[in-house]
Symmetry: C2
Subunit: 164 residues, 2 copies
């Protein structure tokens, strides 16, 4: 069925790799969508949830925008837009860092904290249902390793304590 013709093929994907690739792509596309759908009732996107969750776990529920962008795996530009949205919703607040005016500190408001606390159980339950329940403990461990290796290939200096 396959054997797509090309003139200058590097190493093509073999059957097993193809299966893995389809699986990975499917998960990437469908999981994100499923999580967004679950959070839709809460009026949050999955990315917004991630941002608020990161803030909620930080000291003073506060982080510099650049640090927050790294946690949330998004560009600074995207984060800026999203935090502006969260501010409009009353969930977050921004202020210049008193220690250095070039930095901006994003803070989770009390309302934002309540929001994330009430949304978290449902969200975690969905994550568990879709990702962890179907996997064995060994597979979860494998997934950690696999994820770390791919991330390292994408960005070698992504703060890793990588060991073999």
């Amino acid at each position: 069925m396959t054997n797509t013709p090309t003139d200058v093929a590097p190493r093509w994907l073999d059957e097993e790799e193809r299966r893995a690739w389809l699986g990975l792509m499917g998960v990437m596309r469908r999981l994100e969508h499923a999580l967004d759908t679950q959070l839709r009732d809460e009026g949050l996107t999955h990315f917004e949830y991630g941002v608020m969750a990161a803030l909620s776990e930080s000291p003073q529920r506060e982080l510099r925008m650049s640090a927050l962008a790294a946690y949330a795996e998004g560009s600074l530009s995207r984060l800026s837009q999203v935090v502006a949205r969260l501010e409009r919703k009353g969930y977050a607040h921004r202020r210049p860092d008193p220690a250095d005016g070039r930095y901006t500190l994003a803070t989770l408001t009390d309302e934002g904290y309540e929001k994330i606390v009430s949304a978290a159980p449902g969200h975690v339950a969905e994550v568990r249902r879709l990702v962890f329940d179907p996997l064995t403990k060994a597979q979860v461990k494998q997934l950690s390793h696999i994820g770390r290796r791919i991330l390292h290939a994408i960005d070698p200096d992504h703060s890793d304590g990588d060991r073999g």
Copy 2:
């Protein structure tokens, strides 16, 4: 059918699950971005590439829109917009199915075929570099299994060809 938004706190994620989750999220966000970046030189998005690749491997390089949407893991609405874009670029063509006017057949033009053939080697090389080179053969196999299980949890009737 609404998900219970709050209620009881379910089982939280343990350390290993947390690591796996961060890995998976990181891969989802960064890999898609990396692939889009690689294909940017070709003037294609990763999703467009997937659509064209699916067509190129089909008989007559032609598929019904709904079938194509399933292959590409996207909504029919999204696909419709994307194929319109590909049509504007001269890479694809649409026509009503002569056998039943409710269906639409999307076809890859010769120009589109040339495009995908010239873009494929670079793209596959990048996929290999980011995903398969860093993994052992055993991990690739694990990834197939893990992906299949998660996909099954997201959508139980998604063509289940599980053989081991």
